[in-house]
């Protein structure tokens, strides 16, 4: 060991006493720890000003930096990922939409377990993949905040166990004393549910099932019973009819099975691929319906005239076919119209179809008589294949009501109908309801009826339900849940199953029900199981009903005063989805008014009485009086007024409550059934004007070739009739020339090396129903903006359906041309971004936020957009939509915009960004769908097939009016639509903005000089 000694410092070498003392301390120097941190020190210490400023500066800076952090949205990954769910990939489930009113086999798109979009099931022979606005919107009703979250017993939340115990006990008590039990429901098309009701009836023998449709077709069923001894509604084939005559039946939007009929109707009128034949459609009606708007010939008729007019048509047809005529009064002013119609019907004998809306069996008997004379049975009408979607029996509801008033009913179970809202004199029904010992409602919300019931056992939304449906005899379709019930709700069928003691699981019951046992999985997967259609069997017509009917019809006379007709709107229908903001915001296809019902008044009456739009009048009919705003509706029959059903809901939810008035109050129950028209009085009210919000304020085309139209005979002669080539006069040196607009063009074309997407819209197929508008809203997260904003012309729909009326004015008289005819012809034109190849919007954006893609699309880069709105100004089609507010947070939209609630946000399509305030948006041609298909094709190393991509509007369309495809694929559908099709044209062709969207001329089956008579 070395003797060397290393010392730490001179102090250690010296080893003085002070060093020795300090050596034992860990820190050689004194650390002022105690002084600094002791309480005492704190009390005495004075923080120097500089330190204070330093600390403050640091804190402020730190706090500021911390505050700068962007809000964190937590997304939680699956801990155990369900096998079938891949985040970002949609799952599709076949199901069936049926709400007691509309039927549609659907395919439901779910993302990460949430249903977000409804498409039609194209395997269905009934709807052929078509949908309607109401079907499209139904997905939002799933996320309705007004839905009950638990069952209710006597107005208080309760548990299912308690409810089951209480209801079962009550039912047992009632059964024990042989009390009457009544089940009141709308039409049930589910065979298994019907079976369960049978089981229930078996257990409680005092049970009777009453079927009641708020919009009843009971008269047709009754008439068929009388005429053919078949109490059912037949199948109609509008596609097989060469001449279609409808008396008030709005079969394209509301009547019996509108999606099916719209598809058939369009099929019979398509003129593509060189077809030169289309059906002729004649409509007699009081209010201008969607169906009437599409008619080739439309006659205005008062509802009181319908019976006599139909009977006269019978006589005219009978005379021509050599049958016995009926003894009825003369048709008056409709005489010539009837005569003319009869001629056309008889000429198309065996290929014609007459339908009527009337709910009077006597009237329907005569309609049946006409169809028998025309030999429609077996060709356009099939009684062997009855349609099940309307089974309501007006006599049954009348009986039930009487029983209720007499206090004979001990238990009333109300399913899928809302009698306290939809019945005339609903207050009396409500009073009668209170006498019942046990009332159970299965409503999903505490609405007008459910609020008056002892128990509310909320039914699942259809997207949470199992089920089967038989909309037509032999045509089955199935429902499966696409999401676990959001709330503590239970299917009606399951509740009934439990109470009837026949089981406790409806799913199991359904699987083993009847034929379902065979191939259940595959049936469920397909969604539909449709047998071969039933051959029409020979019918036996009880012609003796005619004379009896004729004598009833003969008593129908106009009182000479105003007549009120109640109609259903394409969006709201019977009002069961009134709390759906997408439907409220959908402009009525004809009036273009949103968020309200109103009294449609004919222009003639308005002129005579001095009524203007938005004036408030008092409407009195059947002892009920209400103040309603006036809307002057061209096409409304003079001497009639019309009011839409489905509005004026109470306790339905914050969207529906207080919107419009309840027109069901004006309906009446007669010996014939429920009538949706009556005589009325209208007097100007002293109230201030009421603001109606319409999306279209100008109704005529002002002589511009916006919607090109021609007559069938001209079209047969010349395929480009109405679409003659447009030439622009130019000076070429000394010469005067005329060139087509694309020859006089300053711009270079964009290269589209891979794809060039295009869309074609057949104006001859479009019926204007608005399914595409709602489909687009759902697909593209289009915000709902509410009535006030619509009134400021700020609707956000990416696709709109323009509706134009014809005008009687002479060409050139511009102010007169603004006025539509009193009974105008109507055209519809869906307009969305036209994706111009020489887009005016692209050149003016200072920040290049809107650009042209290499696939021919006009794109929006939302992040880059600063919102100058220059692009919108320069868009000749006015399809650009600006985010005036932050719709997802601004309190102005809380009541209407579903995106403001956690629940409502679940419907958002995660593939489409929700646009911020101050940003321009517009149709993207469903770029997310294009992209998805491209990626799938790439993964599979193949080219995209023609027709593989379907935009939301295209897919929703019940009439297949829209074609989408790639111009770069030779022989693609879109190319076929563009080149050889001489009806094709670009909107505002003279501007040469070269849109990728084009239209086909509308062809009307009229004769020269013919127009709707006023």
């Amino acid at each position: 060991m070395s003797e060397k000694k290393y010392w730490k410092g001179i102090e250690e070498l010296r080893n003085d006493a002070e060093f020795v003392r300090l050596k034992n301390n860990e820190f050689f120097e004194h650390l002022p720890v105690d002084e600094k941190i002791s309480r005492k020190a704190e009390a005495n210490d004075v923080t120097p000003r500089r330190d204070f400023l330093k600390f403050m500066g640091f804190s402020v800076a730190a706090a500021t930096l911390a505050a700068c952090e962007t809000p964190i949205v937590k997304s939680i990954p699956y801990i155990i990922k369900p096998e079938e769910i891949t985040p970002g990939i949609a799952n599709w489930y076949a199901s069936t939409f049926w709400d007691g009113y509309d039927y549609c086999p659907v395919v439901v798109k779910t993302r990460e377990g949430r249903p977000i979009k409804i498409e039609g099931n194209d395997k269905s022979l009934i709807t052929g993949g078509g949908t309607s606005a109401r079907v499209q919107a139904s997905v939002l009703s799933l996320y309705d905040t007004a839905r009950l979250k638990t069952p209710f017993a006597n107005g208080a939340p309760a548990s299912w166990e308690n409810i089951d115990a209480a209801v079962s006990k009550k039912l047992a008590d009632i059964a024990a004393k042989n009390g009457k039990i009544r089940i009141l429901s709308s039409t049930i098309i589910s065979p298994s549910t019907k079976k369960i009701i049978e089981e229930f009836t078996k257990k409680y023998p005092g049970t009777q099932h009453v079927t009641y449709d708020s919009i009843s077709c009971s008269g047709i069923i009754k008439a068929n019973k009388e005429s053919f001894e078949t109490a059912a509604i037949p199948s109609y084939r509008f596609d097989k009819a060469d001449v279609i005559v409808s008396f008030g039946a709005d079969f394209l939007a509301n009547w019996i099975s509108p999606i099916e009929f719209a598809g058939q109707y369009a099929a019979g009128r398509k003129l593509d691929n060189g077809k030169k034949k289309m059906s002729k459609h004649i409509q007699f009606e009081a209010n201008l319906s969607l169906t009437g708007s599409n008619a080739d010939k439309r006659y205005m008729m008062k509802p009181s005239q319908a019976g006599v007019a139909i009977a006269n048509l019978y006589n005219a047809v009978a005379r021509m076919t050599g049958a016995v005529t009926l003894n009825v009064p003369d048709a008056g002013e409709l005489k010539n119209a009837i005569e003319d119609t009869a001629k056309q019907l008889v000429a198309a004998k065996g290929k014609s179809l007459v339908v009527a809306k009337s709910n009077m069996a006597s009237v329907q008997n005569i309609v049946n008589g006409i169809n028998v004379l025309l030999e429609s049975y077996g060709s356009t009408i099939n009684l062997a294949e009855p349609c099940m979607t309307r089974q309501g029996n007006d006599d049954a509801i009348k009986n039930l009501w009487k029983e209720l008033i007499d206090g004979e009913v001990s238990a009333l179970l109300i399913y899928n109908c809302n009698p306290c809202y939809t019945l005339p004199d609903a207050d009396k029904f409500t009073t009668a309801l209170k006498k019942v010992e046990l009332t159970v409602s299965f409503s999903d919300r505490s609405d007008e009826t459910a609020g008056n019931c002892h128990f509310i056992c909320p039914d699942n939304h259809y997207l949470e339900s199992w089920g089967d449906a038989e909309a037509k005899k032999g045509y089955y379709s199935f429902s499966q849940p696409t999401i676990a019930p959001l709330f503590s709700t239970r299917q009606f069928a399951e509740s009934m199953l439990l109470w009837s003691g026949a089981g406790n699981n409806y799913h199991e019951y359904l699987k083993s029900f009847g034929e379902n046992v065979n191939g259940w999985e595959s049936k469920l997967k397909e969604g539909v199981h449709e047998m071969l259609s039933q051959e029409s069997t020979a019918i036996k017509f009880m012609s003796e009903v005619l004379s009896a009917s004729a004598s009833i019809v003969s008593t129908m006379k106009s009182s000479g005063g105003l007549e009120l007709i109640l109609y259903e709107k394409t969006g709201i229908g019977n009002g069961n989805q009134a709390n759906n903001p997408w439907l409220q915001e959908l402009p009525d296809p004809v009036s273009k008014v949103t968020w309200d019902n109103y009294l449609c008044v004919s222009p003639k009456d308005a002129r005579e009485k001095g009524w203007n739009n938005n004036n408030v009048v008092t409407l009195k009919a059947n002892g009920v009086a209400m103040d309603v705003p006036v809307y002057v509706q061209p096409g409304q029959t003079p001497g009639t007024v019309a009011l839409a059903l489905g509005y004026g809901r109470k306790n339905c939810g914050k969207v529906a409550d207080g919107v419009g008035v309840n027109a069901f109050a004006f309906s009446r129950i007669t010996s014939e059934g429920i009538m949706y028209w009556s005589n009325c009085d209208v007097a100007k009210s002293t109230k201030d004007d009421y603001m109606l919000a319409a999306t279209q304020l100008h109704h005529t085309m002002m002589g511009r070739k916006i919607v090109k139209e021609t007559m069938l005979e001209n079209f047969i002669r010349k395929s480009d009739s109405g679409n003659e080539e447009l030439l622009i006069p130019i000076h070429d040196g000394e010469e005067k020339k005329k060139l087509s607009p694309d020859k006089v063009n300053l711009w270079d074309s964009f290269e589209t090396p891979n794809h060039r997407w295009g869309m074609s819209i057949d104006l001859n197929s479009c019926i204007g129903c608005g399914a595409c508008v709602v489909a687009c809203t759902a697909e593209n997260n289009v915000p709902v903006v509410g009535k006030d904003e619509i009134a400021r012309s700020r609707e956000m729909h990416w696709i709109r359906i323009d509706r134009y009326y014809t005008s009687d004015a002479a060409e050139g008289d511009l102010s007169a041309m603004e006025q539509p005819s009193d009974n105008p012809q109507v055209v519809f034109q869906p307009v969305m971004c036209q994706h111009c190849n020489h887009a005016p919007c692209e050149t003016v954006c200072p920040v290049v936020a809107t650009t042209h893609s290499s696939e021919g699309l006009n794109q929006m880069a939302y992040n880059r957009c600063i919102g100058t709105r220059y692009c919108a100004n320069n868009c000749p089609y006015k399809v650009r939509r600006f985010n005036w507010f932050e719709y997802t947070t601004n309190s102005k939209f809380t009541d209407v915009n579903p995106s403001q609630s956690e629940l409502g946000r679940m419907v958002l399509n995660p593939d489409v960004v929700v646009r911020a305030r101050g940003v321009m948006e517009k149709c993207s041609m469903c770029i997310q769908r294009i992209q998805e298909t491209k990626l799938n094709a790439k993964k599979e190393s193949r080219k995209i097939a023609d027709g593989e991509i379907k935009t939301a509007c295209l897919q929703a369309c019940p009439t297949h009016a829209i074609t989408f495809g790639d111009y770069n694929i030779a022989g693609s559908e879109i190319n076929k639509m563009w080149k050889p099709e001489e009806r094709s044209y670009h909107l505002l062709e003279e501007l040469d903005v070269q849109p990728n969207v084009f239209y086909q001329t509308k062809v009307r089956n009229t004769e020269a000089g013919e127009k709707h008579e006023s």
């Binding site: 200072p846 220059y870 919108a872």
Partner: protein, 459 residues
């Protein structure tokens, strides 16, 4: 100097037997003295309007452009109308200081300072609208071609709106420099007369060490001439480019090749009207009647007749071309202006802009202060309506009738407009208190030729 005689036909431009010292005294009085009660009243009103406008502005920023009355069809209305109106008003200043300088119009001396100040403030008001009318004004910097890290993100040089950004900013900066340059000798005068150290210090800083030497003056005049040369094309270019916003678009009623000259004439027209409005008041309030004389007013009125007539001819030409073109959309746009739902706006414009300035053919009206003031107000209103008719009314009814709608302003956008008027007058009133409203040192250079006493001597 004494050899250069003023023509006998010319009236004196400086009345009263002014000496150099008197000019200094007269012009510096408002700057050095206390404000009178009229000034305070005017300032209170203007400042209140400004604050009101600021609140409306803040509300718009807070909630969105939805606070205004615009809609899917009418994307621009009051916002861009106000922008063009204010930019137009700004044109008189540069015209007076640049073009009239080059043409050696000596009468410009007593009005150029306030006209230039007006230009600066008007352009500031104008600039507010394009900046604020965007949906996301906090991202307005996207409109500048800034190098960035976003990849190939760049501005769109095809867009007239981008040209606007450059045109207006150039105009503003050149006008500001020109105005300030002219102020330097006068600021030095105030500095030299200052009796408090603070004043001396501040004006000393602002005067940039002006010594008034021959070299200073020589450089001053050279720079003024250079800036006049730069500004002159700007007088024509700025409003030409503003008019491109419309002329290059395809909106019927906007898409018009006549717009550049028509807009420039209109701008000068409205600019002179606003100078008139201001000076008729200012000469009274600031007791400058002997410097801003009826002679000045009359000269300006002559320019108003000229530009007003150009504008009138432009209106008629537009109509003729709309018919002659045979384009139905174009024809309809003009018929709609005159007879459609906004006929009243059109006829207000026609009356104010075409008919009223023609009254200036009468010497009695042309030389009447009251008449000039009233007519100048008419023109200010008429020119606002001209822009409203072009911008908003054309948009309400363009190609597709289904999209036609009406435009109704909200009180928010009206408030913002009132706020800019408040801002303009607040600035102008402050300007009148801190800077000499007449270019006093420049004015002195013409006193010996056009002063009342000197002009008389040659008779």
């Amino acid at each position: 100097m004494s050899e250069l005689h003023e023509a006998v036909v010319r009236n004196p431009l400086v009345l009263g037997e002014k000496t150099y010292h008197q000019i200094t005294e007269d012009v510096c009085r408002p700057v050095e003295g206390k404000a009178n009660k009229y000034w305070w009243m005017a300032f209170t009103i203007a400042f209140t309007a400004f604050v009101w406008g600021f609140c409306c502005f803040a509300y718009t920023i807070g909630t969105g452009i939805g606070a205004w009355g615009l809609n899917r069809t009418v994307g621009w209305a009051w916002d861009i109308t106000n922008f063009v109106w204010w930019i137009g008003i700004g044109h008189a200043g540069t015209l007076i200081s640049a073009i009239l300088l080059l043409f050696r119009q000596r009468w410009r001396m007593s009005i150029n300072r306030s006209a230039e100040a007006m230009t600066i403030f008007a352009v500031m008001c104008a600039g507010l609208f394009p900046a604020l009318h965007t949906g996301r004004p906090w991202l307005d910097y996207f409109m500048f071609p800034l190098p960035n890290q976003f990849g190939s993100l760049w501005v769109n040089f095809n867009s007239p709106l981008l040209w606007d950004v450059f045109a207006v900013l150039t105009y503003f900066s050149v006008s500001l420099v020109f105005w300030y340059l002219g102020l330097i000798p006068d600021l030095a005068t105030i500095r030299d007369r200052a009796i408090t150290p603070a004043r001396k210090f501040i004006y000393g800083l602002l005067a940039f060490g002006w010594k008034g030497t021959a070299r200073d003056w020589s450089r001053f005049e050279e720079v003024a001439l250079v800036l006049a040369g730069i500004s002159t094309p700007l007088v024509l270019s700025v409003h030409t480019i503003v008019s491109f916003d419309f002329a290059t678009s395809i909106v019927p009623g906007w898409h018009t090749t006549i717009f550049p000259p028509y807009f420039v004439a209109g701008a000068i027209f409205s600019g002179f009207a606003m100078v008139m409005t201001l000076l008729v008041i200012a000469r009274k309030v600031l007791s400058l009647e002997q410097y801003i004389t009826v002679q000045h007013i009359e000269s300006m009125n002559k320019i108003i007749i000229l530009t007003g007539s150009i504008v009138g001819i432009a209106y008629i030409t537009e109509f003729f071309i709309a018919w002659y073109s045979g384009v139905e959309y174009e024809s309809y746009a003009f018929i709609n202006r005159a007879t459609g739902p906004y006929w009243w706006a059109y006829w207000t414009m026609m009356t104010c802009n075409v008919i009223t300035p023609q009254l200036f053919w009468f010497k009695k009206i042309r030389t009447s202060l009251t008449a000039s003031f009233i007519i100048s107000i008419f023109i200010n209103i008429g020119m606002w309506f001209e822009r409203f008719v072009i911008i908003a009314v054309s948009l309400t009814r363009d190609y597709i009738p289904s999209a036609w709608t009406m435009y109704h302003p909200t009180f928010i956008e009206v408030g913002i407009f009132i706020g800019t008027i408040g801002f303009f007058f607040t600035c102008f009133l402050l300007f009148a208190r801190v800077f000499p409203v007449i270019a006093l040192n420049e004015l002195k250079t013409i006193l010996k030729r056009t002063g009342n006493q000197f002009v008389k001597r040659h008779e």
